[in-house]
């Protein structure tokens, strides 16, 4: 047992940190530090810079344009990227679609989609959830009927993150409604969102932003060559996608970065006549967060190094521990920063709009941004399998209760 990174791993961390420091555009970094969500153009710009270095598809094998890193290297890369803070690479493109195509795709599909996904030339989104099928995903109803060289798709998806920015969607559809088990009649399709019959409608979330969408499919014709894996075997593809590559699931780098930022701001605001940073109650709260982060860091390292050693590449049920604690920490640290902002974190104020008219800063931007970030992160324990479902998984897979 040795908690230390090897000299090679430490050198690798330095290399990643140095590259990000030298190449991340300052404006993007500053916006992210202030707590703004990354804009589409920022995400694209940064992913392309990473891709030029061969790092965007960080989890893919070298054969398909990835760096061929070990799980420990991937973990280090993700942490440094979040800690910068830099926009995250598109998880739809890199951690979901890529590995699925590499595992199940045809040569033609790999050649056609992978390089464009790595470079974010195509922006992908995930069309899984439906109004009636959230936690119970296998009950999905969107129907695809084969007619000659096409599947004709009808139905509705919901909660489709960034569909309004997307070019393509990977979609779960029902191809055999009569299959003895729900899981057996599902297929995985790649859909060009410019196809006639696709309609994307916005859903505004409680942070006031447009991130989510409903996507309606009316007689949408999808070429049969866009089927991934076998017809009616899409559930195994989806399960592979959801279970694959859990290295980044805890997003610990973000919690660490936000805690550091909150500490920095706690020097600038007051509590009972002293800087907040000197307040014992505040320091105790931060200490608790640091304890939790440290435990998670080591748990994550255990999962990751086991993954490197395992032969079967099957997801570790401990990844549910990473999801549960990781999202609790994301929520806890966003809550911390909002509380540091205090009353000034409550207004809705767009400094960017004011800046256009040369108005002076009315309110501290970091404080104003802290609250929408907090609000949006309430979803972290809902998406990617709710934390209740993660606990059910632990029960079934480990505890046997």
């Amino acid at each position: 047992m040795d908690l230390r990174f090897t000299p090679e791993e430490l050198a690798f961390r330095e290399e990643v940190r140095g590259f990000i420091r030298d190449n991340l555009p300052r404006e993007i970094r500053e916006r992210m530090r202030l707590g703004h969500p990354a804009r589409k153009q920022d995400i694209v710009a940064w992913q392309r810079i990473l891709n030029a270095r061969g790092w965007a598809a960080y989890s893919w094998p070298q054969e398909w344009g990835g760096p061929g890193w070990t799980a420990v290297q991937k973990m280090i890369f993700l942490e440094e990227n979040l800690a910068a803070p830099a926009p995250e690479v598109s998880s739809f493109n890199i951690t979901m679609l890529g590995p699925v195509l590499i595992q199940f795709g045809t040569e033609e599909q790999k050649r056609r989609y992978l390089p464009r996904a790595a470079n974010l030339d195509d922006w992908w989104c995930q069309g899984f959830s439906e109004p009636g099928s959230g936690s119970d995903l296998a009950s999905l109803k969107t129907r695809a009927v084969k007619e000659g060289g096409h599947y004709v798709v009808n139905g509705q998806k919901i909660w489709t993150s960034t569909a309004h920015n997307a070019d393509w969607c990977f979609l779960l559809v029902r191809t055999d409604p009569k299959a003895p088990k729900q899981q057996q009649g599902i297929s995985f399709l790649l859909v060009d969102l410019r196809t006639p019959g696709v309609e994307v409608r916005p859903i505004i979330s409680i942070d006031g932003s447009h991130h989510l969408n409903e996507v309606f499919f009316t007689d949408v014709r999808v070429p049969v060559e866009n089927l991934v894996g076998e017809e009616n075997r899409g559930w195994s593809v989806a399960k592979y996608l959801l279970g694959n590559e859990r290295t980044g699931i805890a997003r610990l780098g973000k919690s660490k970065e936000r805690t550091r930022f909150a500490l920095e701001k706690a020097r600038e605001v007051n509590m009972n006549g002293k800087p907040l940073i000197e307040d014992r109650g505040f320091r105790t709260r931060v200490a608790q967060i640091e304890v939790d982060m440290k435990a998670l860091e080591i748990t994550q390292a255990r999962v990751v190094s086991a993954y490197d050693k395992s032969q079967d590449g099957r997801p570790d049920p401990l990844s549910s521990v990473l999801k549960i604690k990781g999202t609790e920490l994301l929520q806890g640290t966003s809550e911390l920063l909002m509380d540091v902002g205090g009353p000034q974190a409550m207004p809705v104020w767009q400094q960017e709009l004011a800046a256009l008219t040369n108005e002076p800063a009315l309110l501290p931007e970091w404080a104003v941004q802290a609250t929408p970030a907090y609000l949006m992160l309430r979803a972290a324990s809902i998406y990617g399998g709710t934390n209740e479902i993660q606990k059910n998984i632990l029960n079934k897979a480990v505890l046997g209760l």
Binding site: S139, S205, N270, G281, G342, L363, R378, A379, I382
Partner: protein, 380 residues
Amino acid sequence: MDFDLTQDQRLMVESVGRLLADTYAFEQRKALLKTEQGWSPALWAQYAELGLLGLPIAEEHGGFGGGAVEVMLLMQEFGRHLVLEPYLATVVLGAGAIRLAGSPAQQGEILPAIAAGTTRLGFAHYERQARYDMTDVMTTATGAPGGGGFVLEGAKSVVLHGASADALVVSARTAGSRHEAAGLSLFLVDANAPGVTRRGYRLRDGTEAAEIALAAVKVPGHALVGEKDNALPVIERVVQAGIAATAGEVVGAMEAMQAMTLDYLKTRQQFGRPIGDNQALQHRAAEMMVALEQGRSMAMLASMMVDEPDAADRARNISMAKVGVGQSGRFVSQNAVQLHGGIGMTEEYAVGHFFRRVMVIEHMFGDTAYHLDRLADGVA
């Protein structure tokens, strides 16, 4: 001990509940939020007619002579429907200061106008650098040359309904330095007086607030509210009344979220059965109820402590209530969203609106950490 409502209290709660059921359905409220003002002057007039605006105002000033308990009960109804009108700013805070410290002339002029719904006030005390600190006041009021009046200079932050108020109760230093308890005074300032600049915005819950700058604002000597240099006890009592009132509002909001969540647990189907069939979620709902009832007790405590003469006892109990209600509110609202899944995250669904109201209230008048600190200082 008696926790029952009187006949009058019950009647008030019922009539307000009926009015709000008719006027504050989710879609109606959404339309109201979209208007420039963000609340309804017509409803404000109705509140005046029902006597709600004069609820805590003495009968001799056109009010009802009610106390903090009545205000809490009313705020609970407001919380259930997420009422947007400036009741807290005008009736609880602004009028509260005038009631507690105003001269007979000020009371005779302002309080009847508030009860009648023709004047609205803002309470401009907290400053940006102060965060929650009640003595951290840098705004100054100096004697105007020639005598008699004062000149105000400074800035106030997140003044609730400050942009649309007719007049502001402003705290300023007439003596002492930053953080000093002595040397504060209150002034009644025409919100449209020369030198007053108000920049309004919405808070995350849709209610209005403003940053207010005071640049060489001249006020006459009779604008002073209460004793010169000794306003802190008044400010504290106004803030305490605000805590008690919003505690009621949070209880109402928690009740609404609890009801919505229970309904959702019974109707939302996943895996072929209502999600509420899962014992994990049954326990969560029970924990929400525990939090709600503990919060309700604390709201009662706060309202019964508002008029407690022993200042230290009053402050301590009201801090306890702020902590208890704040923690309950956070727990209930976070879980209400969680148990709704994706739908709880949307602007089109009511639970998120309650969530944000409770969140905004938690960051008023000192947050949980601030009041815990004060309580910790007093642990003996």
